[in-house]
Amino acid sequence: MFSIALKMLFHDRAKYMGLVLGVAFSTLLINQQLGIFIGLITRAGAVIVDVPQADVWVMDPGVKNLDTIFPLRDTELGRVRGVPGVAWAVPLYKSNVTIRTGNGELESSLLMGVDDSTLIGLPPEVVLGNIDDLRRPDAVAVSMDGYRKIWRNEPLKLGNIAELNDRRAVVVAIVKDSPKFTSSITFFTRYSQALQYTNNGRNQMSFIVARSAEDSTPAEVAQSIVARTGLQAMSAEDFRWKAIMYVVQNTGIPISIGTVVALGVLVGIAVVGLMFNLFVLENLKQFAVLKAIGTTNIRLIGMVFLQAAVVGFVGFSLGLFGATMFFETAGKSPTFQGFYLPWYVAAASGGVAAAIIILAAMIAMRRVLFVDPAIVFRG
């Protein structure tokens, strides 16, 4: 019977394609939009991800995210280092600077000042150059996307000179960092050098990043720091989530993307539901014939569900393929760098596609179950 069900399904190709495309469109929209959403909000915590050595972040008690910073006094570093459970602690500077690109245009850039002695705070992946060269005067490392934006159409090379707040900076390394929420250009330099670029004096420490000792958890160490210094401290993971939730709660991104996702689901339900219902309605007499010649209701239900399952599987696969291709292609552009399709989004969209198709099948199934087989004798 199942082969007959499939032949019935594939016979009307236009309707079959309509059903499949309905599921595919819905799946594509859900995956593409949620992938972009997750990619976007993940950027809110990118600076934290780029310092994998540190598992505790310390900052002014009023800080809510990575972009609104109130500097700490230099003496706080010593106090944090004195807290039991802290293996080490180093300063981290973060500021915005204006840079002039190769063709004279001005761009906003992020400047990160990392610990002078250990260079902790640099992204781990170095694409070109040697990070030890950062110890030289005016030396900076630049993010790969930043390099491509400033020196367009130029091959990756060291020694390029940029102007950071009108001061000379020599590129000694190119690094791969996580895409940021606000700027795609990031410069990394030593903490003391960074202060020179921004003409700031003492007490300009944006964050203290620390490592918990082996016998302590980051949360315990963060609690101790709060208790002993009165500063705000939390584990790197908690801070990342705090930064992400700040974006979620204070921007229109979730509502905007959520609306598109909801529309995708609604369109999926409406298109697939109506078309599948129409498909069954048009084939109702065939189901009545099968019923009349002895097909049981359970088999008819199986046929309808098989047809729905095939539509759902093919449509979902097509939609998922489309979304994957989008992220594969768009991910190569700096604008979408770091955007990807998380497995749990794909799984959730699979659940939505299954729900759409089960709903459509159940609505259609009622007609099949209640069709009067005696209609086959009517003209």
Binding site: I4, D12, L290, A292, A374
Partner: protein, 232 residues
């Protein structure tokens, strides 16, 4: 003791609707369909012929009375058993052919076997042999919309006979056919009915095929008015 009747109806009443809109369509039908014969059920439109064969086939339930078919009381069977009974023992030929447009002729003919649980490949082999006998050798892979009315009816007959049913119920089998094709169809059905434990019931208005009847029952206003052996 061998069966005397393929179908036995006793006091069959059928009402449609309830309360003030209730309409009685069958008024206590008593009828016995002989075995090993082709029995015609004739009468004007609206007299209840289709309702009666629908009840005999277990597609409709009777309001009162009972129907015994092949010595089993179908009106007392559970729904699921009726469905199984239809699949095993009954073959249907409809006025509108009711072929599945998505299936080829041979697949359509194989459907009754597939319903019984036979695989499509095996069912197609058996259906193919039957279609050959019906002169459909060159049309087996065509879809219904590529066949003439007569060819479609042959496929419908093959579907009704492929699983070797004991009783074939046929509703206006020649209504859409020319005289020659209609005669061929009736000869085929006559061969089926020639088995000692089989029967064919034909509902028809087509008096061109009356000579093929062994018995003729005449219905009027929901009653069997006469039932006689055909002398034509």
């Amino acid at each position: 003791m061998p069966m005397e009747f393929a179908v036995e109806c006793k006091g069959v009443i059928k009402d449609f609707g309830t309360g003030s809109v209730r309409q009685r369509v069958l008024h206590g039908i008593d009828w016995q369909v002989p075995i090993g014969a082709t029995t015609f059920l004739v009468g004007p439109s609206g007299c209840g012929k289709t309702t009666l064969i629908s009840i005999i086939a277990g597609l409709l339930s009777a309001t009162e009375g009972y129907v015994r078919i092949l010595d089993q009381e179908i009106t007392k069977m559970r729904r699921s058993r009726v469905v199984r009974f239809r699949a095993d023992h009954l073959g249907f030929i409809f006025q509108q052919f009711n072929l599945l447009p998505s299936l080829t002729a041979v697949e359509n003919a194989a459907v009754s076997l597939v319903v019984q649980g036979v695989t499509l490949a095996t069912a197609k082999r058996q259906a193919s042999v039957l279609l050959d006998r019906l002169g459909m050798e060159s049309n087996k892979l065509k879809y219904p919309n590529q066949l003439s009315g007569g060819q479609q009816q042959r496929v419908a007959i093959a579907r009704a006979l492929v699983h070797n049913p004991k009783i074939v119920i046929s509703d206006e089998p020649t209504a859409s056919l020319d005289a020659e094709t209609g005669h061929e169809v009736m000869e085929l059905l006559g061969q089926v009915a020639s088995g000692a434990d089989r029967a064919v019931i034909v509902v028809t208005h087509d008096n061109r095929i009356f000579p093929f009847a062994d018995y003729i029952a005449t219905m009027s206003d929901g009653r069997i008015e006469s039932f006689r052996k055909n002398s034509a």
